[in-house]
Symmetry: C2
Subunit: 354 residues, 2 copies
């Protein structure tokens, strides 16, 4: 994928369909926090030191390309307008934090968009691997390979007792955050979601909305991730998350089955009405679009609906985000109303071209 495509095209690899538990799990993400030895953490570093981090990491491009047999793109965030940085957030390529400030920040993105390395976010490096469906092991293997290549070239801040040193103590140790994006409409509809979320939290995990901390679970999409990084091996962290997510997936699947069996008419009607509204509305808010897409996605997975089944709902969820819409528009600054109209138009076109 070229840089132009990365910014202009909605589709990135994690949106692929047909992955393991893809009816409920949208994507799996592994993130490793690393820092270069002898340079202060980004928040404490001066401009020169930050720039030094960027150039050191840029010099790894060659090693990444030869070892990974793939082309990496180096993107200097300073050269990217805010809008394009925000589009990358909506596509889950970078974090909201990384988009906010551009000075001395960069990313390295693998050709197939599965790996992105954020430079000078909270830590010098955040290696991120994003895979479709429930795919934590593959994502970890991928991130680990990149980590090895970096570690071969640069001395990383590491302590025998504490493990990898990170800017925030919650990332100390493995520096690993593993997270899974899940779609839980039936648990929400049947009112079981609070119980499930509390149980997951009790097991030492975190549950957040679609775009990370402090965001709401719009479209019934939740992110489940590990809380602790210290005192466990990477394997233990991943195994624990995997087994909890597997249980959540089972609960959702059972809830969907029950909902379908007990309230068939209501559910079928609800799903088709959502589809009809998405297909014909001329103005739609982001919140409503995600809620309706959630119904349609579930209806498609339950076999209720066939029309529009070739649409990629993961992609549609990203296309309809505000910054992506602005990026697609010819208008220099969309008003709220114009954005709602454009959103409705794009959804309509996608569902009609199906």
């Amino acid at each position: 994928m070229s840089m132009k495509n990365l910014l202009d095209q909605p589709f990135v690899h994690w949106m692929s369909s047909g992955a393991q538990d893809g009816d409920i799990v949208l994507a799996s993400r592994i993130r490793l926090a690393r820092n270069l030895e002898g340079i202060p953490f980004p928040q404490r570093a001066n401009g020169e030191q930050l720039s030094q981090v960027v150039s050191q990491l840029k010099s790894s491009l060659c090693d990444l390309n030869s070892n990974e047999q793939s082309d990496y793109m180096f993107i200097d965030l300073e050269k990217l307008p805010l809008l394009e940085r925000l589009v990358l957030v909506e596509k889950h390529i970078i974090s909201p934090d990384h988009a906010r400030e551009a000075s001395n920040r960069a990313i390295l993105v693998k050709q197939d968009t599965t790996v992105s390395i954020m430079v000078n976010e909270e830590d010098h490096l955040r290696i991120q691997c994003l895979m479709p469906g429930l795919n934590l092991v593959k994502a970890f293997t991928s991130a680990n390979q990149v980590d090895d290549i970096i570690e071969n070239k640069h001395a990383l801040a590491f302590n025998e007792e504490l493990g990898y040193l990170t800017s925030c103590p919650t990332n100390l140790g493995t520096g690993l955050r593993a997270s899974v994006m899940v779609h839980l409409p039936a648990l929400v509809l049947t009112g079981q979601i609070n119980r499930i979320v509390n149980a997951v939290i009790q097991l030492g995990l975190t549950v957040r909305g679609l775009y990370g901390e402090g965001t709401e679970a719009v479209g019934n999409i939740f992110q489940i991730s590990n809380q602790l990084t210290l005192g466990f091996t990477e394997q233990e962290i991943i195994d624990n998350l995997y087994s909890v997510v597997k249980q959540v997936v089972d609960h959702e699947r059972t809830a969907r089955g029950g909902l379908y069996a007990d309230t068939t008419d209501m559910l079928v009607d609800r799903v088709w009405r959502a589809y009809g509204t998405l297909k014909y509305a001329r103005s739609i808010s982001g919140q409503e679009a995600l809620a309706l897409l959630s119904d349609v996605r579930m209806g498609y997975e339950l076999g209720i609906i066939n029309e529009g089944s070739n649409c990629n709902f993961n992609e549609l969820m990203v296309i309809t985000r505000p910054n992506f819409l602005q990026k697609m528009s010819d208008c220099p600054e969309l008003s709220g109303n114009e954005r709602k109209k454009l959103r409705a138009q794009i959804i309509r076109e996608k569902l009609t071209n199906d």
Copy 2:
């Protein structure tokens, strides 16, 4: 139209499109109340007398057929199950009152369904003519012709001073009730409807819902009719109603134009969403269906919507009524849910076949 078609097919003549002011006026109706001389009014008559009225009127069939150059059907309501009588109400061929009791009641219906004569409703005869659009004069001419044929054959209860004698004093004199069915969604949406209705009442007219007295104006459909029958000539009654309806139509047209100009995006979105819901819902109540059909009908008249434009919305409004649905169903008694499903299915088929 055969009797089978009259009962099975939703379409009757008044639903035709392309009539005068058909964008707002659904239909015009003239009803003449008449009684045979020397026989008590139906509520006071015994079975034998009522039966005598039926056979006298039945004997007019020949005269009607030769004078009107059309075949009239004679339908003995006693031989029609309640459901089929109620279907005739939904198609506005007979009144709810006439359907309630069947004993010694009958109707004579002209082949093209423009004229129906109810026998032994509140009066011995109620000659009714129903025309599409704003067409009071033509409807009156038609009803009058039938009245002349009947009067040539039978002595009618008539008093030089009071005019035609009727069971209820509100019908005394001309025995004429002229009414017009109008669709006023923009006056409702812009909150002007109460003011307009009050003004119409001040002018001595009555405003009611879709199925007569005491029914709500579902689907934003209102019936405007004359209140007084005594002390005015037929011409005066019709002229007065015509000129008031013309003003209401102008107000509605202005309100539609204003609504479209001032809130284009909102209105376009509303209309298309209504269409999308009708096209995809799998269960829908009669109330909701009429409300959505009202939006779509207005959208079609304003040129907002083209899809489905070959659908006859007047027909759809009748098809989706409870008794017509029951008549179309194979099920001996539809439950509320089954009816909602069948209604949604029929609307979907109509909009898809378009």
